[in-house]
Amino acid sequence: MIAKLAWKNIWFKPLNTILSVVLLTSSVAIITTLVLVEKQFEEKFTKNIDGVDLVMGAQGSPLQLILSSVYHVDAPTGNISYDSAKVWMQHPFVEKAIPLAFGDNSRGFKILGTTADYLEKYEAKIAEGKIFENNFEVVIGSEIAQKLSLTLGDEFYGSHGDAAEGHVHEEYAYKVVGIAAPTGKVVDNLILCTIPSVWQMHGDHGSTESENPAHEEGHVHVEGDDQDHNHHHDLTLDEPGMEITAVLLKFRNKMGIVTWPRIIAQNTKMQVASPALEVNRLFSLFGIGIQALQYLAYGIMLISGISIFIALYNTLKERKNEFALLRVNGAKRMQLMQLVLIESLLLCIVGFIFGTILGRVSILWISASSEQDFKMSFNPYEFLWDKEGVLFLLTIGVGVVAALIPALKAYKLNISKTLANA
């Protein structure tokens, strides 16, 4: 009955109530969104760098190298010579080296030339079919199979570069020979083939593009003027004078992680970058923005607390008579105090529920757009008990503090005076 009374009282001044709930909802929604996105973002970023100590690629921004070759969200820094890369890949310090050659895309999904080690690194099992062996055979990520409705044996053409609307290479068709099982990592959104497939696809117009490297940065093609050697036979990894985009390195001897960045920068035209370091740098950059938004959200929560306080305080003045009546009819002081507290808590709980829902709706929206742009999706149905639990307690705390003075006033109400003035 007290809860019912409180509920009815809340609607005594609907505009005040709506304002308080809207403010609370927005602050809870912002915080929920930030907390979930931050957590899932970090999780995704960390998951993908497991087993990669350093990335070797063309000189340029190290962060760009990591973003492009590990996360596939940025343009590559350029190409490197496979022959010079091989020298380092075969170094005794190196446990595993996975070469990557960025090729084309199919309807926005990247076609990546690599080796079978790449699938192994991401623990991606082949769910259907087999691994790529010959040129133009591809293994597609689980998400791609679903989104492009591709099945084993299907053939498709690639479009040049990153843009889905780029020039279509109709010389060679890719053939799906395998579909990878879902991993929750970048590989789900990639089309994987052999590196020579990428070389062969671009071999016929390599020379003209190599004169304009800015236009084609990172998209591998054949160097030099040898234009027609590739039309009639399949290229292999042993082909001399070829280019790749990057190499993912895992070290046997961890000394290499420390020494290689300097050695390679000084002695070659390449660079190596540490994904862990770059990702940390990225998070600290994001962190400032996220923190600023979080402060804003807490500010809104404080305002909503003040709004609840003002609403309760004002209605209390108008409801003094009613409270006195409840007392005359046997309500105890504590019950009136409870009534005011419950009113405030009801507002907070409603605000929290709406905020949690709205936060998830915004994650759905963010997820849809990041999925489109970066092939990165967020799960709105995850509930972080620790962080969201604390947020719930904080919301309740705001409600209790806001109701404290009005509740005390209700407690101290002088019945005879109030009724005498009625």
Partner: protein, 215 residues
């Protein structure tokens, strides 16, 4: 039921104090009807508030149902009010967003009566004041006389031993005032409740034998 001995009450007004009740003695037996009269400011309502445990006296003794009321905490006062006393006010004092039925069942809620019983009982009292058909109406949909009848039903719902009415008829016309007085007296008789009415309404004065006049 109510025994008051040498009761004093003063109110501070600025630096001075206004001595409102000066040594009142009063004895009201079970089922007795008493009207308290007096000019404005003579302390009628103050006396009623003290009897109703809404205010505290300065000096003297007040016994309610044999129990001495002294230094009583609010919690205990609330329990005694709920158990022994029913109130009817001049301005009806119904809760505006509650229906007639909900208003009547309110004291029963604080007595811990179950929802179903509350409803049955409240409906029964509404029937006694002739407003059964108005049970689901809000106070704003009722006339002044009807509102006061709902207030009487509410006061009776907890089956009080004493029914305290503060100017219950002064905002009603003759016909409604007549009906309200009739209800107050008949219900008090039926439930053997003492009836204490503060009034300066001559329509009531005539019907009461026991009169206390405050000067």
């Amino acid at each position: 039921m109510i025994k008051i001995e040498k009761l004093h009450k003063s109110y501070p007004i600025g630096k001075d104090s206004l001595h409102v009740l000066k040594g009142i003695d009063l004895h009201i037996k079970e089922g007795e009807f008493v009207s308290i009269m007096g000019s404005s400011g003579s302390g009628k309502s103050t006396l009623l508030n003290i009897v109703g445990l809404l205010d505290i006296h300065d000096q003297g003794n007040y016994f309610l149902n044999g129990q001495l009321i002294k230094n009583m905490n609010e919690k205990k006062a609330a329990i005694l009010r709920n158990k022994f006393l029913g109130f009817v006010f001049q301005s009806f004092n119904l809760i505006s967003y509650k229906t007639a039925l909900e208003n009547v069942s309110l004291p029963l809620y604080y007595q811990g009566v179950s929802r179903k019983e509350r409803q049955e009982s409240a409906l029964n009292y509404l029937e006694k004041v002739g407003l059964k058909d108005w049970a689901t109406h809000l106070p704003s949909e009722l006339s002044g006389g009807q509102k006061q009848r709902v207030a009487i039903a509410r006061a009776m719902a907890s089956q009080p031993k004493v029914l305290l009415a503060d100017e219950p008829t002064s905002s009603l016309d003759d016909k409604n005032a007549e009906k309200v007085i009739e209800l107050l007296t008949s219900l008090s008789k039926e439930y053997k409740a003492a009836l204490v009415i503060v009034t300066h309404d001559s329509r009531i004065k005539e019907k009461f034998i026991n009169k206390i006049t405050l000067i």
